[in-house]
């Protein structure tokens, strides 16, 4: 496989991880997932009587996409740990996208609860992929705790504000020994390309595709953007200069 995306004990071809939230219906979601080329997709755990429970796992199985359960909605380490254990039971996977948010207004990760939950889940044998702040120190702490990747936000969930602090993402990438996955805040294709240009190993996005006017077309755009950004990173960009520099020989 050319340039595989290696995370824990798995290898993927696609560097685009998608979410399933926000889609108008399952048919729209399925078309977008196929167009995105994703091989790993998040799902949430909810009470069986809640709406939207039917079909998503069957769809992922049919499309040969690995499900990545998340702990969305959890506010404390204890809640997140229980949700992760329930997800392992329901889906038969020890992979977990760990989310522990501080409040509904920002949906920003609560660093203390996040690190606490990550430590417990790693000890319990989980492959932990934490959704974290764009904080280089916290990213290191999560890696030291044994997380299989770190997933810093570009901007708050669902805002589509892109990457607000590219330098922090570069700092995280520069010191990480595990894959860095840009998670949250992606609004359009250039944001996804930038994440890859900054050195991220992959991009995780959901609403940028599912709530786009044409989800299938945006999924196609994101797929291309991630590939383009990866290639540009590997190609090595030219240094930025203040003054012009002629590319044609002098007359």
């Amino acid at each position: 496989m050319d340039d595989p995306f290696v995370i824990a004990d798995r290898e993927y071809t696609s560097r685009l991880i998608t979410g399933t939230g926000g889609a108008a219906n399952l048919a729209v979601l399925e078309r977008a997932l196929v167009a995105s080329g994703t091989e790993l997709t998040t799902v949430s755990l909810r009470r069986v009587d809640a709406a939207g429970g039917s079909g998503v796992l069957e769809a992922l199985r049919r499309l040969k996409i690995d499900p990545l359960p998340n702990t969305a909605g959890c506010r404390t380490a204890a809640e997140a740990v229980l949700t992760a254990r329930l997800a392992r039971e329901a889906l038969g996977t020890n992979w977990i996208k760990l989310e522990v948010v501080a409040d509904d207004k920002t949906l920003l990760p609560d660093p203390m609860e996040l690190l606490d939950a990550a430590t417990t889940l790693v000890d319990d044998g989980f492959v932990v992929l934490p959704y974290t702040n764009d904080d280089p120190v916290l990213a290191l702490r999560l890696e030291e705790a044994g997380c299989a990747a770190v997933m810093p936000l570009g901007s708050p969930i669902g805002t589509g504000l892109g990457i607000r602090n590219p330098h922090n993402i570069e700092l995280i990438v520069a010191r990480a020994g595990v894959p860095v996955i840009l998670d949250a805040g992606i609004g359009t294709a250039s944001d996804a390309a930038l994440a890859m240009e900054l050195g991220c190993s992959a991009v995780l996005l959901a609403t940028a595709v599912t709530r786009a006017a044409d989800p299938e077309k945006m999924a196609t755009a994101m797929r291309s953007a991630v590939v383009a950004g990866r290639l540009a990173r590997q190609a090595g960009r030219i240094p930025q200069r203040f003054w012009a520099q002629a590319s044609s020989p002098p007359r």
């Binding site: 949430s44 755990l45 909810r46 009470r47 069986v48 998503v56 499900p67 229980l82 392992r88």
Partner: protein, 66 residues
């Protein structure tokens, strides 16, 4: 006796097991997870785990999200 299932009260017979409860609710054993009083009950233990009066049962499944 009365137990709580996903936030709602439910009348069940004494000695009801997790497996009995799932069957009564028409739920499959796969693709779901059950917690009783905050502890996960592994699938293999559904038939031998009975619920007691006032037990808080959560039954979860995967939905679109994230």
């Amino acid at each position: 006796m009365t137990i709580e299932v996903n936030g709602s009260p439910r009348e069940v017979a004494d000695g009801t097991t997790v497996a009995d409860l799932l069957a009564a609710m028409g739920l499959p054993a796969s693709g779901i997870a059950v917690a009783v009083d905050g502890e996960v009950v592994p699938r293999a233990d559904h038939v031998r785990t009975s619920v007691s009066e006032g037990a808080v049962v959560e039954i979860l499944t995967a939905v679109q999200g994230g």
